[in-house]
Symmetry: C2
Subunit: 200 residues, 2 copies
DNA sequence: GGTAAACTACACCGTGTAGTGCAAATCGGC
DNA sequence: GCCGATTTGCACTACACGGTGTAGTTTACC
């Protein structure tokens, strides 16, 4: 029966180190030190480095998906002004992506390591669910006559891309600094394009 | 005076190994072996691993930028049917991104390593130039009344994102296989959205 | 065919790292 | 306060890798 608080400390430190260094550069000794735990304990809890990595990433992805749907409810729960609501959502979405060092670092790590760890593909598939949640919201807005949408799933993909991808491209997923104003411009421009194409 | 053919062989092998393994996992011994060259020769030509990496990436980026502008001229050189031309360009653009293993692997590598090598930022900045080339083309189409565009630079960013980012998101920059049909659907849908928003 | 420069083969050093083993210290629950 | 499980500290193995030194071989060029 391992001690859960130790396990949590290890997970937290491991995530930080993996995000900072990448898988190959991250050393288990450093993780153990940063967790305030002996290296032996790390191995007792997680077996080996690969399993530690995959476990930590899986937990993080889950948390991010939950945070996303929560944000979706918050900003698109009750909509009267479509433009304002979608702009608010887009801004928060992009900010979560561009301004949360953890979130963008997870994306970078996923992109970097997915060819080395096929198991990561399943994690990534989970993003599809979040996009379907957005699609449902958009379909709802369409059925109320606030938007003109044929295919809600496609529209959700378009919206996601217009709200976040320009920022991600510019900042390479948060690795290159981009000013708040620039982020806001890019998001606003993208959402406006979406609205222009889907006005009823 | 080093032998240029050796240098080229090293560069080619190094690129292949870095793209396949990432920087940290790539070993100079393997690169030398794959180049059919002694390890000592690698060091005589490139000094150290970091310099080898940065040199090879720089050359590759340059080649990719050239290929992009060439493709731009080919598909958007003389346009009569805007929709057909933009669809053709979008398809070729996305195919180059999604179907060329090298191109997408370079993107993945860039994203993975940019936090470790600040020098890579300059390479990435070069992409801005390609976007401006596209902006010029779009501005031309707008001045001929074929498109309604206020800000050509912004429009170019939107187009690029709509044509490629959905494919990149789905495939994580080529790491996860996506069918040709799916790629075509995603690109077509994105370009159609662009056209709907910018019809004169 | 000779000469200088480039290349090869190989041994070698230092270092960093994944993972293990084990006795002693520590801690939670009774 | 006792007992069993967990954790610790540390030593240790095995190995891979970046980088160097060198003596000898190949190559380009005159």
């Amino acid at each position: 029966m391992p001690r859960p608080e130790k396990r949590a400390a290890i997970a937290k430190a491991a995530l930080a180190v993996f995000l900072r260094e990448g898988y190959a550069r991250a050393s288990v000794d450093v993780i153990a030190a940063e967790a305030g735990v002996s290296k032996r304990t790390v191995y007792n809890h997680y077996g080996d480095k690969e399993n530690l990595f995959l476990s930590v990433i899986a937990e993080t992805d889950e948390g991010m998906a939950e945070a996303f749907t929560a944000m979706l409810d918050r900003t698109l729960g009750e909509v009267t002004d479509v433009e304002a609501a979608l702009l608010a959502f887009g801004r928060e979405f992009a900010t979560a992506v561009a301004r949360s060092p953890e979130r963008s670092a997870v994306m970078r790590l996923l992109i970097a390591e997915i060819t080395h760890f096929p198991a990561l593909r399943e994690q990534w598939g989970g993003v599809g669910r979040t996009q379907r949640a957005l699609a449902d919201r958009l379909a709802d807005l369409a059925s109320r006559g606030l938007l003109a949408i044929d295919d809600p799933v496609e529209a959700a993909a378009h919206f996601g891309v217009l709200a976040t991808s320009m920022v991600n491209n510019l900042s390479l997923y948060g690795a290159v600094p981009v000013s708040d104003e620039r982020v806001d411009e890019l998001v606003t421009g993208g959402v406006r394009l979406f609205l222009r194409a889907h006005r009823p």
